[in-house]
Symmetry: C2
Subunit: 166 residues, 2 copies
DNA sequence: TTAATCCGCACTAAATTAGTGCCATATTCT
DNA sequence: AGAATATGGCACTAATTTAGTGCGGATTAA
């Protein structure tokens, strides 16, 4: 099934929330408060935030009153960045060379790129690379500017109806 | 890591090959010949083809001289169709309702759609649904018309250079 | 009848994802 | 100084998914 991992999914949620919070007040957001707000396990939440921090998407301050902040403007952070850090990047085919810079950790398969033995003669390799780039660019185009749906939490039915989610 | 499974990846290759073969002669293509042509395991290849057949993308004839055919014109079959059958579809988030029709088999989680407890109040749900639809539509737009790179196998270097794959 | 070919299912192994926990370190407040 | 609040790093286990194999049965053409 083609999907974001939960880590990436929640990571997007957390980044979006922090972006939204910083919009209202320039205070850091703690892992504990986010976990509580979204009913997530504290350790899982903390892990995701730590990864995002190591990946350069967030930065943090410790101690009382500390927490996480965006390290760039919301429109400078894309879904691709988050997926890259939390999910090991986008590599639609198995012969896709390690793109962009794909933060360490997941780079165990950095063996020159092609893991598929038939890549030299594969007749769909280049069409699929085009598809790979299409998806990658699409995710890069989706930034955290206006990614937080502030209208939710007010009147779920009305909102969902307006968005045609039914 | 966001990627096609090997099954989907090879499935795309196989469908593309069959589309290309039917273009040249209207004969069926056997699992054995495809496995040999691409140095794949016969049983794995056969399994993928069987799934594609059950999923309505291919149809088959048995017995000597039999094999697989496309069941629609190449431009009527999209990558999304293949991914749907072989990979259980595209559901970028965990709260994505079962889209299109997502062929049985993988439909174990058909419990009304949302598997994420916070979906009612999630502020990124609808933006992410939009992303989901973006990717889904993109894959639907990629059909098997001209998806077979016939120029490969002739002069790998020249071809790859032309396609800017380096 | 024999050989080619798909069909359906059941099974195992490997890899990835998901999730937890502990202790160290930094910062702030009293 | 000491307590309370936070993140940082690491190591670990469990659950799920992907990957891949195998066999006996049905169908068809020569
Ligand atoms: S070479 Fe062809 S089959 Fe192998 S991974 Fe690349 S695209 Fe897929
Ligand atoms: S509700 Fe929000 S967090 Fe949960 S799966 Fe949907 S988008 Fe992701």
């Amino acid at each position: 099934m083609l999907r974001f991992s939960r880590k990436a999914d929640y990571g997007i949620l957390l980044v979006a929330d922090i972006a939204h919070s910083m919009d209202e007040s320039p205070k850091g957001v703690s892992a504990a408060s986010l976990a509580k707000k979204y009913s997530l396990s504290k350790s899982f939440t903390a892990n995701i935030l730590k990864d995002l921090s190591r990946g350069g998407i967030l930065f943090s301050t410790r101690g009382k009153g500390g927490g996480y902040f965006l390290s760039k403007a919301p429109d400078e952070i894309s879904l691709h960045d988050v997926v890259d850090v939390l999910d090991g990047g986008v590599k639609m085919t198995h012969c896709t060379p390690s793109g962009s810079f794909t933060s360490a950790e997941h780079d165990a398969d950095a063996d020159s790129g092609d893991c598929c033995e038939i890549s030299e003669t594969c007749p769909v390799r280049s069409p699929l690379q085009r598809v790979h780039r299409g998806i990658q660019h699409y995710l890069e185009s989706q930034t955290f500017e206006n990614f937080y749906d502030g209208s939710l939490g007010k009147d779920p039915f009305q909102v969902r109806e307006a968005l045609e989610i039914v």
